[in-house]
């Protein structure tokens, strides 16, 4: 196997072996603590622009199958593992992780001390990094300099959102799903509940959305800083109060911003499948799947119509909000799971129920 380097902006260099694409790649290096679900993680559009480190050391154990993709074209910049499993074993496995990454031109590095890397990320926060081309000799100093000069990415959403609207038909509630970098899991959960879904680009105007006569709007997850997605914030402002709305992850942040709250970047984000979240309405803790670098600032809620419904048990940050006047609610975590625990799956049922109630009210008002 060819050698490859992972170079961090602080000058730390890890030497490992290359797999996946032979090309070099640059991005923000993050870690996820999930022990299963690498296929879903790698294909999660929220990782746009990021190099993902798996803290679990054996990755690739069960190969890649054709069912568990979260998007068709993965957008991560690289994969970092302690050990890549060469011969996977699972009845659904079709190709190896290595083959998959080669096909999608994503570089990977294995054999490095991923725990050391994780500890660096934990203490330094967002770290820009480069995976060098396989077997290539490089000038480390130059790369470090280059990394430090690279501005952080913007316009993530534009890169990963669908360019054209597309339907995912059903015979139930009509839902417009605004795609900011949607995971397939969200669509799957809506379709499982018979929703008639129309997925639209992130910049679809409010008027256009309303023209589809949705019974509910779902704002998807997505990558990057919510404050960068200004068009969508404006759109959401217009839509609030018109139809029931459910926001997930970036969608949650956008609702908050549309209501006047502020977001900030966490030191090293929440990524993994073991994050406890307290549901303040029931008092019960749900173990959730999370993948976010930004959160809504609790102090900025003052004066808005938002109230907190969920908080992180670990650091107390906001994990869920609800509008005091309108049928709008949102969560920072991923109720669609995949990967991760499905404790919060009921939120999709609540969304359906919310749409039903709203429908009844409209019918009542008309009568």
């Amino acid at each position: 196997m060819k050698k490859r380097l992972l170079i961090l902006e602080d000058g730390t260099v890890f030497q490992g072996e290359a797999f996946g694409s032979e090309q070099s790649s640059q991005g923000e290096v993050v870690f996820t603590t999930g022990m299963t679900g690498y296929q879903e993680t790698i294909t999660d559009p929220s990782f746009y622009g990021q190099i993902v480190t798996f803290t679990y050391p054996l990755i690739g154990n069960y190969g890649i199958n054709s069912d568990d993709f979260e998007t068709i074209a993965p957008v991560i910049r690289g994969v970092v593992v302690r050990e890549l499993t060469k011969i996977p074993s699972n009845f659904r496995s079709e190709i190896t992780l290595d083959e998959y990454l080669k096909t999608h031109n994503i570089p990977g590095i294995e054999g490095i001390d991923t725990r050391k890397l994780t500890r660096i990320i934990r203490s330094k926060g967002a770290v820009r990094a480069m995976l060098t081309a396989a077997g290539e000799e490089v000038n480390v100093e130059e790369i470090v300099k280059q990394l430090n000069e690279t501005p952080y990415l913007k316009n993530h959403v534009k890169e990963v959102s669908t360019k054209m609207p597309f339907p995912s038909p059903g015979r139930g509630k009509r839902v417009v799903l605004m795609d900011f970098g949607m995971k397939n899991g969200i669509l799957r959960e809506l379709n499982n509940r018979h929703c008639d879904v129309l997925v639209v680009p992130y910049n679809t105007p409010a008027e256009k959305i309303m023209s589809f006569r949705p019974e509910g709007i779902l704002l998807s997850n997505g990558p990057g800083n919510p404050a960068d997605v200004t068009e969508a914030i404006e759109t959401i402002k217009e839509l609030i109060g018109k139809v029931p709305m459910f926001g997930i992850c970036l969608g949650h942040q956008l609702i908050a911003l549309a209501c006047g709250a502020k977001s900030y970047k966490l030191p090293f984000g929440h990524r993994g499948g073991n994050h406890p979240v307290k549901n303040l309405q029931t008092g019960v803790v749900e173990i959730t799947s999370q993948n976010h670098g930004y959160v809504i600032d609790e102090n900025s809620l003052e004066g808005t119509d938002l109230e907190i419904t969920h908080v992180s048990l670990n650091d107390g940050t906001i994990e869920g909000l609800k509008h005091k006047k309108h049928p709008v609610f949102s969560v920072q975590f991923h109720p669609e799971a995949s990967p991760g625990p499905e404790d919060s799956n009921y939120l999709f049922d609540e969304f359906i129920a919310l749409m039903e109630r709203a429908g009844e009210e409209i019918a009542y008002a008309k009568a």
């Binding site: 870690f31 999930g34 568990d68 994780t118 500890r119 406890p276 048990l313 991760g340």
Partner: protein, 1065 residues
């Protein structure tokens, strides 16, 4: 929810003696629980019959009762103490069963005592087959189809519905007797009809066989607020069909996609919520390797062996949290003790691979069936952590202490390919090694998969190890390859073998090239949060996280896996030593490989290294920590055996020096020392060949006691009565050689006495003397021992004290020592000196209130016994009588002869204490599981040499109202002595035979001394096994029988007819 304020005192029920399937993990759980409850301010009352536990230390609970865990005694404690509540879910099945029995008896309602933790109703729901099935049905959780049948026809009808293969489990037979798997009608007819015969209620349970499915376990927790989490997922390398306690297990699961994982996680949480478990629970599932189809196999509504493993594998202290949940706290308000900043309501993320391998007792029980199945046979287990599967499994293999430092099959050349195939198809304890050998012989991985049904993932990982062997052989002295091999977990020893070098050379080569392990922290969160857990494992990576402090440190070596002869007693001593080191102002560092123990709870020591106890792995830690020295005398033979290699590496052995350890353990040096000290021992010598052995035996006279040197628990020790037997022994049982000499001693019949002493090099403290009930010849670990001695003369006691003191000084003992004496014809002889902590340390410590391991450790660290406030010599006797009664696990081990002899067979022990010997014995026997009936039938089958002695016993049994049965020869003798005896036929006879009597439950006690010849064919053996299979106490020593009848006599009023008036005529 805040903790309960309406309760103040809580009775915790322990798990009793160590038996196969219920071992040290419950000491770990119980200790954690008691401490957690105390931490919350409750008064904790503890009952446990097992003195060899940390939990029965008076520091752990407010009040400790070492009494039998029986309705009779627990009820009395409840009446006396009137606790507000009991907590039964941390004492294994014993604790649960006791709670159910208490509930049924009505005492809990009567005294208004609440059951904390999971409610008994929930437990009933989980354990009752029908209730459990219907609950699973409600939840939509599939369970394997099953039915109860009473005839072969019914069985056929059932199989018609569900198809082959099916598992047959005869009802109410121990150890799965008569059961098996049927693949076709012929097998079905055969097994069902034999199963019906074996079953006393003529019933068999037929179950759809899901052998070959992946076996997955989830350790889950729930609180009263309905918060529920998965602490750890585990995957058995061995597929369904082998008891999980006998399976090689890895954590976390390796071969499941997230979808499969979440599906099983969901159902596990559904189950724990539906059962309303408050605390920990283990869910076992079977997953089809070819689809999403799965079954729920079993739910254990309590803390278990798996939860101990899960706690150590993740760092998440399940028992501690379960105890807090039991008093009303909820997961979201309990702090995660590992991070200290986050909460207990989360699911640990791990960034390493954990491998567990069971430790089986087949090295001691060579005749036992080594096949593994649905009945657990392992006595203990080892765990190892690595950054890949290969590293974890190889570390676990060398932790086993079975002489393996790699997955090399012993005597591989003796096995042909067919045999190897057979041993892979049918799982046994050595399957892993057979698989490795098959791979070396070129058998394809897919083929091995077909034979074993082990997932290809694991097999390919094993193949990586085998491939690396080739790479190593082809690239001698290649540092890059060396590094790769170390990253795969290879031991220096193996690399040395492949490179024709010495292990030490490899070690030096690595050190000089910086190829050394680093230590990573076990932190429950994969480094996501800062943690300060002092819990580490070694691996070959870049960053070391184990920071050496400025404080001088002492390393204590633990005792590795629990096995027969080296049980929880040594963990007890290890933990006490750690505490003493801390009290003396040093940093205490522990190295151990056993996940079941208290010593591997990271909150015990200042630093815990979870590593194999091999010289290489230990030296790495010493290189890093640079301790002032290493304490080896508390970790049993495991630690002692490392002493010479450590010393050779320049490590300071604290306490008794290596030379002096040798003087006690090396036969010739010992003999010389005894001569110098003028202390007599039975005549004997050392043989390195058969001829020598015969010559020695002739010189000293038969019977002789033979054994290999340097062994623990009397392994391979036997009494032989003639030349033939000696020849057989020398040829079959041991391979004598100059490296492995065999000791031959005159066998003295007499009283056996045992002493533990502490010495600081000058002062010698003797906490107590124990006398054995069984005469010399029965291993001390298998004897009932009594404190204080009951039949020694003052003179003999003085002699023993004198010898002990002289031996301690003469052998320059610093720390603990254990001496076995035999008193024959009134003279005291030394049989054995062990320069280390013994099995009886906890027993004596508890009786005398002298924390022996603590005092010894401080003596080792330089504080004299006098400075510690103790006087020297024999400590004044405590009031009362204390007996230690051994407990065996024979029901779990088929084909093992239960006869007691010089080789140790017991797995655990209990203590009985009271004011008289009889009362103490009664408690001890009851606690050990022997039911003492005031009347009934006793069946005698004794060897000729024992017949005279048996007569007096029979008379005594008869006079308390027992009916006497015996075989013809014995009966005749009895009749002659005027004992009314019912004659039963020998095995194979026409009338009612011994076996019929035992099987029908016509006898309540069997006394059998037909030993000699261990071939299973022998009648004596057959009789003894029948008693085990039918749960009837079988006494193989007349001394034990004597103790039993003494107890019965003391329980009953004497019935004597009135003396006949003389008739005057």
């Amino acid at each position: 929810m805040p903790k309960r304020k309406d309760i103040e005192s809580i009775l915790v029920i322990g798990s009793g003696p160590i038996v196969i399937g219920q071992a040290a993990e419950f000491d770990y759980a119980g200790t954690q629980a008691c401490l957690a409850l105390k931490e919350e301010g409750y008064k904790v009352i503890l009952i446990n019959s097992n003195p060899a536990t940390i939990m029965t230390d008076t520091e752990i609970a407010d009040k400790v009762y070492i009494e039998p865990i029986s309705l009779e005694f627990v009820s009395r404690i409840l009446r006396k103490e009137r606790p507000d509540a009991i907590l039964p879910t941390l004492g294994g099945q014993t604790g649960l069963n006791m709670a159910i029995e208490l509930q049924k008896s009505g005492i809990l309602d009567e005294l208004g005592i609440e059951v904390l933790g999971t409610k008994l109703e929930a437990i009933h729901h989980a354990e009752d087959r029908e209730l459990f099935r219907s609950l699973m049905f409600e939840l939509g959780a599939p369970v394997p189809e099953s039915d109860i049948v009473h005839s072969v026809e019914e069985a056929k009808a059932f199989v018609e519905k569900i198809g082959y293969p099916v598992i047959v489990r005869p009802a109410f037979t121990l150890g799965g007797t008569g059961g098996g798997i049927c693949h076709n009608e012929q097998e079905l007819e055969e097994i069902v009809s034999s199963g019906l015969k074996y079953s006393p209620v003529k019933q068999c349970l037929l179950e759809k066989s899901i052998a070959g499915y992946k076996e997955i376990e989830f350790e889950v927790m729930r609180d009263s607020k309905n918060n529920a989490i998965v602490v750890c997922s585990m995957e058995n390398v061995d597929p369904v069909g082998i008891h999980t306690g006998d399976s090689i297990v890895v954590a976390p699961v390796q071969t499941l996609t997230d979808r499969e994982y979440q599906m099983l996680r969901n159902i596990s949480l559904d189950i724990i919520r539906a059962l309303k478990i408050e605390g920990g629970c283990n869910v076992q599932l079977a997953l089809d390797p070819h689809s999403f189809k799965y079954y729920v196999i079993e739910v254990n509504p309590r803390v278990s062996r798996s939860s101990a493993l899960a706690s150590k594998a993740t760092g998440y202290p399940i028992a501690k949290i379960a105890a807090k949940i039991a008093v009303g706290l909820t997961l979201d308000e309990i702090k995660n003790p590992v991070t200290g900043t986050t909460y207990a309501d989360f699911e640990p993320a791990i960034d390493y691979v954990v491998a567990k391998i069971p430790r089986w007792p087949f090295d001691k029980f060579e005749s036992a069936k080594r096949n593994l199945g649905t009945q657990m046979k392992a006595t203990g287990e080892v765990m190892a952590l690595g950054r890949n599967f290969e590293e974890a499994i190889l570390k676990a293999v060398r932790s086993l202490e079975t002489g393996h430092y790699h997955i090399d099959l012993k005597h591989a050349e003796d096995h042909d390919d067919n045999w190897i195939e057979k041993r892979i198809k049918k799982a046994g304890d050595e399957r892993l090694f057979f698989i490795a050998e098959a791979m070396r012989r070129g058998v394809a991985v897919e083929q091995i998969h077909k034979w074993s049904q082990i997932d290809l993932f694991f097999l390919y990982k094993l193949k990586n190890i085998i491939d690396m062997e080739t790479v190593l052989s082809e690239n001698k002295n290649d540092l890059e390859v060396l590094k790769q091999a170390k990253r795969l977990g290879f031991a220096d020893q193996k690399i040395a073998e492949l490179w024709d070098m010495e292990a030490k050379e490899i070690y030096e080569l690595r050190k000089s090239n910086g190829i050394v392990p680093v230590y990573k922290m076990v932190d429950t969160c994969a480094a996501e949060f800062e943690s300060a857990t002092p819990y580490y494992y070694g691996t070959y990576e870049e960053e070391n996280e184990s920071i050496v402090s400025d404080k001088p440190s002492v390393i204590v070596l633990g005792s590795g896996p629990i096995r027969i002869g080296q049980g929880v007693e040594f963990d007890y001593a290890t933990v006490h030593s750690v505490w003493a080191i801390q009290e003396a102002g040093y940093e205490a560092i522990i190295i151990n490989s056993n996940p079941e123990t208290v010593s591997t709870d990271f909150s015990i020591s200042d630093k815990l290294y979870f590593e194999p106890l091999t010289i290489e792995d230990v030296m790495h830690i010493i290189d890093l920590e640079k301790p002032i020295g290493v304490v080896v005398q508390f970790g049993g033979q495991t630690a002692i055996n490392l002493a010479d290699k450590l010393a050779a590496n320049g490590v300071k052995i604290l306490g008794t020096s290596l030379e002096d350890i040798d003087r006690a353990e090396n036969r010739d040096l010992f003999e010389q020392a005894l001569k110098e000290l003028e202390i007599p021992q039975p005549e004997g010598d050392t043989a390195v060949s058969l001829d020598e052995a015969l010559e020695i035996a002739k010189r000293i006279g038969f019977p002789v006691l033979v054994r290999p040197s340097y062994v623990l628990g009397g392994r391979a020790m036997e009494i032989v009565y003639n030349e033939n037997e000696l020849k057989q022994y020398m040829e079959n049982a041991v391979e004598a050689s100059p490296d492995h000499p065999v000791l031959i001693d005159r066998y003295l019949t007499g009283k056996e006495v045992e002493v533990d002493a502490i010495s600081d090099g000058e002062n010698v403290l003797i906490p107590g003397i124990m006398e054995h009930i069984e005469r010399a010849g029965v291993h001390s670990g298998d004897s009932i021992s009594v404190y204080p001695p009951q039949s020694l003369t003052q003179k003999q006691i003085e002699t023993i004290v004198d010898y002990t003191t002289r031996l301690a000084r003469g052998l320059n003992i610093v720390g603990l020592m254990n001496i076995q004496y035999v008193i024959s014809d009134g003279n005291v002889y030394v049989i054995e000196v062990n320069p280390r902590a013994s099995r009886t340390v906890p027993f004596l410590s508890k009786i005398t209130n002298i924390p022996m391991a603590n005092v010894a450790t401080k003596a080792i660290l330089g504080q004299s016994i006098v400075e510690q406030g103790y006087e020297t010599g024999l400590v004044e006797e405590k009031k009362g009588v204390y007996v230690k009664v051994p407990v065996f696990s024979f029901a779990k081990l088929r084909r093992v002869d239960i006869t007691l002899g010089p080789e140790m067979k017991s797995t655990g022990e209990v203590m009985g204490k009271d004011i008289t010997l009889e009362k103490a014995l009664y408690k001890g026997l009851v606690a050990s599981g022997i039911e003492i009936k005031p009347y009934g039938t006793v069946l005698f089958t004794v060897a000729d040499k024992d017949k005279e002695e048996a007569i007096s016993l029979a008379k005594r049994f008869q006079s308390v109202g027992y009916r006497i049965m015996a075989t013809e020869g014995t009966a005749k003798k009895f009749e002659e002595a005027g004992i009314r005896t019912e004659v039963v036929d020998k095995i194979g006879g026409k009338g009612k035979t011994l076996v019929d009597v035992i099987q029908n439950g016509d006898a309540q006690v069997v006394i059998n001394t037909l030993t000699k010849g261990k071939q299973p064919a022998r009648d004596g053996f057959r009789i003894r096994r029948e008693t085990v299979e039918n749960g009837i106490p079988c006494l193989t020593s007349l001394d034990t029988a004597n103790a039993l009848i003494t107890v019965i006599e003391s329980m009953t009023f004497a019935i004597q007819e009135m003396p006949k008036a003389e008739v005057y005529s």
